[in-house]
Amino acid sequence: MNPVLLWFHQLGSPPIFDRFAARWAPWCYAVAFLLMGVGLWQAFQVPADYQQGDSFRIFYIHVPSAMMSMLVFGLMAAYAAIALIWRIKLCEILAMACAPVGAAFTVITLVTGSIWGKPMWGAWWDWDPRLTTELILLFLYLGVTGLYHAIDDRRAAARAAGLLAIVGVALLPVIKYSVVWWNSLHQGQTISLFGDSKMDPSMQLPFWLMFVAVQFWFAGSLLSRARADNLRRESGKDWVAKLAAKS
């Protein structure tokens, strides 16, 4: 059998996944911290934006977070689909572990977006299409998490929440389009604050550093949460007892 496939198959075994996650999560966090440190330092080196001044620097946190909030939702739905079709327990765990991390990214996006917009709007909130979509995305995340915790049977809970994630990801483009349409209807053609601004070459380095950094942060978070959930689910088994006795 193909060694890569074999490795994937083995990873599905709870004790092996536990060792894998325990080993790699700290490294992911370490790399994330390092990259974030360099990225943020670079972010302050870049000259201030001529229009928005220093408040523009929050872009380096806001945009990677926003991209992650969307990517994580897609990943969550993908894990959920695999879990539903092939009934792989590990994918159920991974899908559910994505939800709180994705929700956190969404909250960071909303908060940084709000902080960024305050000098421009004069208020802490504006029904900007992108922020509005992020808000609805937050509700979707909260719904998935809420559903997962509301059902007693862990596997049925993961499958139900997973189905919701799949429905959500299918509707996400529709929601985004409808919010953009709604915004154009009621507020005319406003230039979005977070529009696709062309990035000056000097901005590229810190941006990509931050983007890669949040990916590693996400990987570390995902592995840690998945490991915890895995241990909780398998708590009756021998290998968990041995592990607890060792530490």
Partner: protein, 227 residues
């Protein structure tokens, strides 16, 4: 031996639901009554002045219909789940998705249709400009079945749970947003003198898609929930 055809099973379910509604005729008015309450509360909160009310009338009506629909979602599957009927649906030789679709139809007929019929009256209470009424009615006619179908997925996901309450609302909200936007938005566009047909066509397209996909998703959710 061959099982019942889709039409036989579907009409048996429809007849059953209409009979059940007839036995509890009073219940049919509850969503309309709730919408009326919402409208009255808004009128009181906004001061009752005709001009001010008229500007927000269509939006308030859409919200009232949406909330009334949300409240009635609980009755979609709970009764059948509690007495074991839902199990027999799963075991029947016809596709569960088909039975779900028929059930959503009968539910819409008994909860949303009275709302749509009450809409002109509610519009009068809010001083809805007369020329907006036709667009509002069409948007409701297209939007409420869409809300029922999307709501069915949410109701199916939570069918096993006891006190689902706010969770149902939280789950349904993101799914309802596009319907509300295009529904209320179509009336807003016509109020601005622009063409509302585009928005209404979106609702229509969404409805067609949901007619096919929502029962399948809800059927999958029911099987998961009854596990």
């Amino acid at each position: 031996m061959n099982g019942p055809s889709l039409l036989q099973a579907g009409s048996a379910l429809l007849v059953r639901d209409l009979r059940l509604l007839w036995r509890r005729r009073g219940d049919a008015f509850q969503p309309a009554l709730f919408a009326l309450l919402v409208v009255v509360l808004f009128a009181l909160a906004l001061g009752g002045e005709a001009q001010a009310l008229g500007k927000v009338a269509s939006a308030v009506m859409w919200v009232a219909v949406l909330l009334a629909g949300l409240l009635s979602l609980d009755t979609l599957f709970r009764g059948d789940a509690d007495d074991g009927s839902l199990e027999q649906w799963i075991l029947a030789p016809v596709p569960l998705a088909w039975l779900v679709a028929v059930r959503v139809l009968s539910h819409w007929l008994t909860t949303a249709l009275p709302l749509i019929l009450a809409a002109p009256l509610l519009g009068e209470l809010l001083h809805l400009p007369r020329d907006q009424l036709p667009v509002l009615l069409v948007s409701l006619a297209l939007g409420t079945p869409l809300l029922s179908l999307l709501g069915a997925v949410v109701a199916a996901l939570t069918v096993g749970m006891r006190r689902s309450g706010i969770l149902v609302a939280l789950l349904a909200l993101p799914l309802y947003v596009p319907v509300l936007i295009f529904g209320a938005g179509s009336v807003a566009r016509s109020a601005q003198g622009l063409d509302a047909v585009g928005a209404l066509l979106f609702l229509g397209a969404g409805l067609v898609l949901a007619l096919v996909l929502a029962p399948l998703a809800a059927a999958a959710a029911i099987r998961i929930a009854l596990h």
